[in-house]
Assembly symmetry: C2
Homo-oligomer: 356 residues x 2
């Protein structure tokens, strides 16, 4: 419908400004289906697990691949902040990217179709979401007011219609929904078949569960807050990497005045992970999140925090002070948050010097 309108601006593809980050333990055959959409872009592949294994990437893609040995070599002792045997390792890709935008996707995610049967260019929709402002200060009942065929409704203050810069675009999933292990166990056959044709801004002050399966963000605006935590091998928790990043990121976006969108685009999530394995990974998180949510809901950053790094370091102090008593894990995580920011500044600062 919208496509039929005259004068709708085409979405730039930003092939020089966006990296696609993919964490994986297997050959990347899934890229074949994405070829028409991903081929113009540079891929950053973060190989998890056994570094001696060779991951095959289909011909014709422009990519760099990092395994655990590469991560250790590049980060030295700071490599301790990058998780192993958990998709949390993907954030290493954010660190080494030099681009303005990141799109990250799981290797069990395929191209979805819209209700008319047309294949969805997920990346194009993410770019649209990121290039258009967000509206976190007041809710618009017709959803994204910047979309073709939509606008701000009656009663929406005119002073808020410019919106704020968008930092994050959170896409959704058809077929296998992103459920936790208990819900997976209770509803093994549930599939998400509902295509909701909407993009909306998550209001200021509201937290949400951010999933890393189909996610894009403005690395310049919010990159240092997109740390996926300590998960997997040697840690008492897994599958909370994206949640952790989402809660930290949202508190910081709210403080700095950036927007976070959720909704379109959909990808096709092909297979459910094993709920029994998931339960083992999530077990602690299911308890801990009951205390994490009130913590993040009440977290306040001081006016002195004007950069993402400053916000993130301040948040790490609050994690140590307030969550450390739940479990010593959070003391370790708070330290890793600091290490992450140091690594970010080291790698990204170095580049600035090189480029001069």
């Amino acid at each position: 419908m919208a496509g039929a309108l005259v004068g709708v601006k085409p979405t730039p593809i930003l092939e020089e400004e966006l990296d696609i980050v993919i964490p994986t333990i297997r050959n990347l055959d899934f890229l074949e289906m994405w070829r028409p959409f991903f081929e113009p872009y540079h891929l950053i592949i973060v190989q998890d697990g056994d570094p001696s294994r060779t991951i095959k990437v289909p011909d014709g893609f422009d990519y760099e691949l990092y395994n655990r040995n590469d991560i250790n070599r590049i980060l030295g002792p700071k490599a301790s902040c990058i998780s192993f045997k958990d998709s949390a390792c993907r954030c290493f890709g954010y660190l080494v990217s030099k681009k303005k935008y990141i799109f990250t996707i799981d290797d069990d995610c395929f191209v979805a179709k819209d209700p008319s049967g047309k294949e969805i260019n997920a990346l194009e929709q993410h770019i649209k979401n990121l290039l258009n402002p967000s509206t976190p200060l007041f809710f618009n009942t017709l959803y994204d007011p910047y979309r073709e065929g939509a606008d701000f409704v009656r009663g929406y203050p005119f002073s808020l219609r410019e919106g704020v810069p968008t930092a994050v675009s959170h896409g959704l999933w058809l077929n296998i929904p992103d459920y936790d292990a208990p819900t997976q166990l209770a509803k093994p056959l549930e599939r998400n078949t509902r295509f909701v044709d909407a993009v909306l801004t998550i209001p200021k002050g509201t937290l949400f569960p951010m999933c890393g399966m189909n996610l894009a963000f403005n690395r310049e605006l919010i990159g240092p807050a997109m740390y996926f935590g300590l998960m997997g091998d040697g840690q008492p928790i897994g599958r909370y990497d994206d949640m952790w990043a989402g809660w930290c990121m949202k508190v910081i976006c709210d403080h700095l005045g950036y927007g976070v969108k959720t909704g379109l685009p959909y990808i096709w999530h092909s297979k459910a992970s094993n709920p029994f394995v998931n339960l083992k990974k999530e077990y602690n998180g299911i308890f801990w999140q009951e205390e994490l949510i009130p913590f993040f809901q009440s977290a306040v950053l001081t006016k002195e925090c004007t950069t993402v790094q400053q916000c993130y370091i301040e948040l790490s102090k609050q994690v140590k002070a307030k969550l450390g008593k739940i479990d010593p894990y959070f003391l370790k995580l708070a330290d890793a948050m600091v290490t992450w920011v140091e690594a970010w500044d080291e790698l990204n600062g170095k580049v600035d010097v090189d480029q001069q």
Copy 2:
């Protein structure tokens, strides 16, 4: 899709517990199209404008009709709180209803069709929205978690999955969108053609522009807050009746722990009102809303306010103290808010005594 699922509970029609409130100045021919859906219900028609005019209601509907003479007779001096020559008069219908639920609809709204071409039973969807809980404390990315085929996603705290009671269900409009006069003037041809298949809870602490065209609420939970203000004849403002009610109601729902939903159901809004006339009505509101929104965003009700009436009286005091300086109109409005609550208690209190 959802309809094909086994074991989905049918939605009760609640014909003994719900009144349909319609403000109008013309014959209610529009009811013909709604007949299959509205005939089981009792209608409360609030006739605006010249009371000597006769409004025709199609045969077969069970209704009571009130014109201005009736309002004056029933409320006496308190009738001053009910607007004249503005659809704000509809709230008189909420006052005289004795039912638990209210659905209110404008007489230029018709039955919409879903993308499959099926006529939408708007009232059934509103009832569904009102009978299922809301989730204002944390955002669920798959929208209404209580809907068939959906649930809470990974990372949603289990302690919040019971939700809270739903007070309000705000439905949307296909065809003519609910734009203000400046937007109508700028985009005379814009039509809403996007069917967004979602219901979502407006998060706690977030305000939205509530439209009275297609609206349902739990009168027992929130009725006394659904006052549509002083608009129209003799007032410096019009077309802000539903906005005013929405902002007051949302602050009170947030305080008392009730939920507000928006999204489905759609109705078909047939014709745009005259943007020049609208501009004249809205003119002051467009300025004033810039101060009203910050006022409502920062309004705090004390713990002592445990009933809707107490909350509303407290809010009226804050309106008088903080908005009175914008324009003397708000002093008058604050007084009318008190009169409204007195009228509510008088009419609804009396019933309690009669029933004993």
